[in-house]
Symmetry: C4
């Protein structure tokens, strides 16, 4: 993420709440920054702390999609060209199958006219964006970025990495000329299930990203918990 993205998770015990940091650059967020919000994007108990202007993305998606557990919004540069052209952003690499079958494009101008500031800055914007997202996993925001909704925090972290990577590969493949051999609908469905059950692969990914992000110590605590599911998964594949 750059300086302007944010990620949230639905409260593990209360589906009418979600957790997100106060407004801070994502690389600087730590545990003390996390706040609790209602699905109308109000800080529970009120607060003086600065809030993300576009928190309305999160509440609207949690309201519209009861199964969603995490939401991310980012301005990833490699995705932006697909937000200002008519070329569909389809998954072409296996690691990005979670993009799903369709990626809708939301243009704030369609419903809110020509004099907005492009930001999802109130509940109406959020609701309209969630309508556009529908049952999909990713929605593009014209000239702005994307929002993704998954059933796990790991899922939205993966999306933040593999959606831009998929975009880069697709752009480069299109420039080579000729047809592009994208993932088939069957592959999108099956791959998604496979990744969801891949504890060892996910652990390996977390290990890599935690070292790169400089917080590998926090990962040790997670590894103990995944050790048991890892042993179970190993016997199944033999």
């Amino acid at each position: 993420m750059d300086a302007s993205g944010h990620v949230s998770a639905r409260h593990p015990h209360d589906p009418n709440r979600y957790l997100m940091s106060q407004s801070r650059s994502p690389q600087l967020v730590d545990a003390s920054d996390i706040m609790e919000f209602t699905l109308d994007n109000e800080p529970v108990g009120g607060s003086d702390r600065p809030l993300y202007h576009e928190r309305f993305i999160h509440g609207a998606i949690y309201k519209a999609r009861p199964e969603i557990k995490a939401v991310v919004h980012a301005h990833s540069e490699d995705v932006l060209p697909f937000t200002i052209t008519k070329v569909p952003l389809r998954p072409v690499i296996g690691s990005a199958s979670a993009i799903g079958h369709h990626v809708p494009l939301w243009d704030i101008r369609d419903r809110f006219g020509d004099r907005t500031n492009l930001l999802v800055s109130n509940g109406d914007h959020g609701a309209d964006l969630a309508r556009c997202l529908g049952e999909n996993s990713v929605v593009l925001l014209r000239g702005h970025g994307f929002a993704a909704a998954r059933d796990s925090l790991i899922g939205v972290v993966r999306m933040s990495i593999f959606l831009p990577r998929n975009a880069r590969v697709l752009m480069n493949a299109m420039r080579l000329g000729g047809d592009v051999n994208a993932l088939s609908p069957g592959e999108i469905d099956v791959k998604t299930k496979a990744l969801a059950g891949d504890a060892a692969g996910l652990a390996r990914g977390w290990e890599y990203w935690a070292v790169r992000a400089g917080c590998a110590d926090r990962l040790a605590r997670t590894r103990a918990k995944t050790g048991e599911s890892r042993r179970k998964e190993q016997s199944r594949s033999r």
Copy 2:
């Protein structure tokens, strides 16, 4: 910025002066390097220190544009292709709306002929560049870079980041083929005002860039000052 850019600010108390570093690589500049210049680009009180050859860009723009408070000149590589072709550089992403409605292209050859060294190295060059800039925020310098003029230091810092980003996104979008959906005139106007009033967002950006630049300690002092405007801004958005 690379090794060859420079930024200045109009003197907060005297509109006929501006402040800029002596000639040093921008990443190395510290407080002791700052000097005071007349709008004819002479160091006030004279000096032995090395001066930026292209300081003439700054004085000329401050003379021509009384409302301008800061000027930046950089050679950002991603902008350069637009300086040597006829493709207009228009804002396509929300964060780059400050680019404005029009980005003129200045070619030193037009007025000064074929045997210049491309540098804005005297008052005549500077005045011609400022004429080309007109009332716009950005002017491209053919085969060279760009200059931007804003009403705040933060504004030119943002421009240095988002102008190249916008250039990259536009280049990639054009390669996808088909029309590019650029910001509308209404969006350019409204977005600009929104960003100017966005203290929380700007503070978050400063936090991110200060950490990346390795000077986060200096930011602590700034945060105390912005705390009050942040609380005011928060109640307005609720």
Copy 3:
């Protein structure tokens, strides 16, 4: 390599075994992670440790190609566009001649249908991939990455660096328009032999990569061993 690649070496004393790390992100692997596998990809003596899902790539290639001493599998982004288009990936730069005369493309869908998860996750997938690789050095995996097989560990490390570099140069050359002047068959053959005998050049490369990877101390031990072959090689070239 990114978080998802893996490299192996045939056991120096037993051609029916190969050595590879347990499932870990490649940058974190150390000596204690190395395990021994049969050519059916089973850990010798059994193990609780997590294994790479796609270890089947390695066993299959070692079975099919007795002369192969090392195998690498990686998802290098710059190679991926060639896995989803019909443009052949040919060597165009001298340093990538080891790519060889032909790079086949393996599509798991051809033999295993539309509902796979794209991973080489069992012995049948591995055998089919090895058939596709044939006598070549590199095989592309559609929407996934590549696998390379060489007669030395240094060979597959070089391939991991120069195959993506070759891909980038080829993509950029194609965009300039006109024909691309690729390596000739004669140059591919001769260059390959030259690099294999180039101890000084390989040592210089190892030195550079070891410093970049932060393990230069381990290289000192290797340098003593190569010192003698280096002196022999020097007198030949004078």
Copy 4:
């Protein structure tokens, strides 16, 4: 430079000698690595140390061009597309004017046939390359890289930075479509002279690159020497 480039300087006191490191990755070279060579590329006094295979580039150019004081050879990736197509590499940005009016392309196959290993690995190759370079500053080596010859060490260092940058800008400009507005012959001539006399600008560049390369301490000694020429140059521009 990557792991495979090298730079040399003609001996300050003997035009029949040049100075270059033993074969080491360029980032690791220090003072103790420097050796003295004849223009036939033999180490003066003989040596056991490993030598760059392609030292023949250097001796040949020093022989052919008495005014040349430094030579660099590198494999810069961004330049490589121009070595395998027919698109001329012309200077389009002011900082790269030292590229000159013409950049010839040397293809070892023309004179030495189809079974070479592409390396300039003997005196005949070197002489043929120097003939191709002629009176120019840069020669491309097909599928391999470039060699540049300047009248100062700073000159070849600048070339190593600005030749690839120029290549990137030119590639991106060509993709925007339409004509590219390159430097005019007059601008190439004048800019070159301007840069050569620009002590302050060069010092600023050295400062930036020395900090990035982690050897800023060595620069302090150089700054004392340039202080005097800087004061002289400043009075001329006022």
